[in-house]
């Protein structure tokens, strides 16, 4: 939790730093005061419980933080272009136990005591979503369903390619792109970590890898129907980490459990300290998985969006053409660089998540070696 907050705060500091620095260069000190006052004013309104202004307003009011937060958060509608958004199905259980369903565009006017505010459906009175249980197909869920469809098409076509062309002919097309990745996962992640029964874990490890990878990649695509920051969403990483935790502990053998509750070769009195530590260790491993993927993906998105905001900040939202040109010429190379880096990170994080999952499962199913202690 702490490292996540630290990560987010660090990036936000970066944004603040760039605002201040660039304004200093471009403008006189009075403007800095104005901007600072603006930021302070916006901060106050938000902390008072009001909601951040709509995206266009945000940019007009020079608040890159709200714009960035809006971009990396989930939404009940799928923003396409300008004021056009794809309405998404809404399924919400209200605090009184009643359900409200419909399409998100029906909630522009208050419906069932709920209203669509800046992309999210909130209580019409309190303007808060805290009391609601939102099972809607949100932007993230829509992209996840899309990724599921893509993955199914890709892998069933590859499967039929193997069945049709046989194993004695060279792979072709999609098959030849993915075959090295698949054999890499099997040879370098599954086989070295999961012992002789490794084939049982191929579906889980490969599913996790490709599910994370495709959503990382779709998250980098900046337009509809991708662009949702799904793998940078704590709910997604939490679910994936919990699944690894479940797979690890369901398959854990006697040796694994005895190492947790009755660490062999240790004086009984020390077990009072070791056992609680081992139990905490069971949870910290998937917790680290959750935080790592979340923080990496979110940080990448925030950095890219900060660089985009630079153009609007320097250009004063179109008031200063020179500033906009300057901002663009600075920001675009950095954005390109960051996108290339994020492409690498997309693969890297999918790899790390599955590698660590394989290691954790491997440790739980490892056979006991006498004399190892």
């Amino acid at each position: 939790m702490y490292s996540a907050i630290k990560n987010v705060i660090f990036v936000i500091m970066l944004v603040f730093g760039s605002i201040t620095y660039n304004t200093l260069q471009a403008q006189d000190s009075t403007l800095i005061e104005e901007v600072t006052e603006d930021v302070v004013a916006i901060s106050e309104t938000v902390t008072e419980g009001h909601h951040a202004p709509a995206l266009t307003e945000i940019i007009n009011e020079q608040d890159p933080i709200a714009a960035i937060m809006h971009h990396i958060s989930d939404a009940n509608e799928f923003h396409i272009w300008g004021d056009i958004a794809l309405p998404l199905p809404v399924i919400i259980r209200k605090s009184d136990g009643s359900w409200s369903t419909g399409l998100s565009n029906q909630y522009h006017e208050a419906k069932d005591g709920l209203i669509l505010s800046h992309g999210r459906i909130v209580d019409a009175q309190t303007h808060s979503a805290k009391e609601l249980i939102d099972l809607s197909i949100t932007k993230n869920v829509a992209m996840m369903l899309l990724s599921l469809l893509l993955l199914s098409i890709i892998f069933f076509s590859i499967k039929s390619a193997y069945q049709k062309r046989g194993v004695h002919s060279a792979p072709k097309g999609l098959q030849s792109i993915l075959e090295p990745i698949i054999s890499f996962i099997i040879e370098d992640i599954v086989k070295p970590n999961l012992g002789k029964d490794y084939e049982k874990y191929i579906p889980y490890i490969m599913s996790a890898f490709f599910f994370i990878l495709i959503n990382n990649l779709l998250g980098l695509v900046p337009f509809f129907p991708a662009s949702a920051n799904l793998t940078g969403n704590i709910a997604f990483t939490l679910t994936m980490a919990v699944l690894t935790f479940i797979v690890t502990n369901i398959n854990g053998n006697k040796n694994y459990w005895s190492h947790i509750f009755l660490m062999p070769g240790i004086p009984k009195i020390l077990l009072l300290i070791i056992t609680p530590l081992e139990i905490i260790g069971m949870f910290t491993k998937p917790f680290a998985l959750m935080i790592r993927l979340f923080a990496n993906m979110t940080a990448g998105h925030i950095i890219i969006l900060s660089l985009v905001s630079l153009i609007f900040i320097l250009g004063e939202n179109g008031a200063s053409i020179g500033g906009a040109i300057g901002g663009t010429s600075i920001a675009v190379p950095f954005i390109l660089f960051m996108n290339a880096l994020e492409l690498l990170v997309a693969f890297l994080q999918a790899y790390i998540f599955t590698l660590l999952s394989a290691i954790f499962i491997g440790m739980a199913i490892e056979e006991h070696h006498e004399g190892a202690h």
Partner: protein, 168 residues
């Protein structure tokens, strides 16, 4: 504001947890079991077949190499045999030649000897003929010379025959 956004960011949304679980389990059970397992199996059997092909290629190469050395040995052997045969032929040839030469020499000597003997014989018979002819001539000459004196005288006739005998 920072705290507000950060808290929003790190609070998991139940709905997304639900949908992620559903989507991933569907993916895991359907694509994972129905596609990944057969793909992994296909890749494994492909690897095995490649390995097999490689090892059989290696074996074939070794066999070829073996065959090559065998061939070379056979060629060497054949060459040795050929030169042996040639040498033998040459020896035979020279033997036959010398043999033939000796035989020819022998034959020649024989022929020469025969010729010589023949010549000797011819010579002797010729000599005999010449002698007879000469004696005849001599007799005729003598007859002609001594025709008259020899016609009656017995002493004369005896003397001549004595002479003729001496001539022989």
């Amino acid at each position: 504001m920072l705290l507000y956004d950060a808290m929003e960011l790190i609070t998991p949304n139940l709905g997304l947890v639900f949908w992620t679980t559903l989507c991933f389990i569907i993916f895991w059970l359907f694509v994972g079991k129905l596609a990944f397992k057969p793909i992994a199996r296909a890749i494994k059997s492909r690897e095995e077949s490649i390995e097999e092909a490689l090892s059989s290629a290696k074996k074939a190469k070794e066999e070829m190499l073996q065959l090559q050395t065998d061939n070379q040995a056979a060629i060497k052997l054949a060459q040795q045999e050929a030169s042996q045969i040639l040498k033998e032929a040459r020896d035979l040839k020279s033997a036959i030649e010398s043999n033939a030469q000796a035989k020819a020499k022998e034959e020649a000597t024989k022929i020469v000897a025969e010729a010589r003997a023949e010549i000797q014989k011819q010579k002797e018979s010729a000599l005999l003929e010449v002698k007879q002819e000469v004696s005849k001539l001599a007799v005729q000459i003598a007859e002609k010379i001594l025709e008259k004196e020899l016609s009656n005288s017995k002493e004369q006739q005896d003397f001549i025959s004595d002479l003729v005998n001496k001539l022989n």
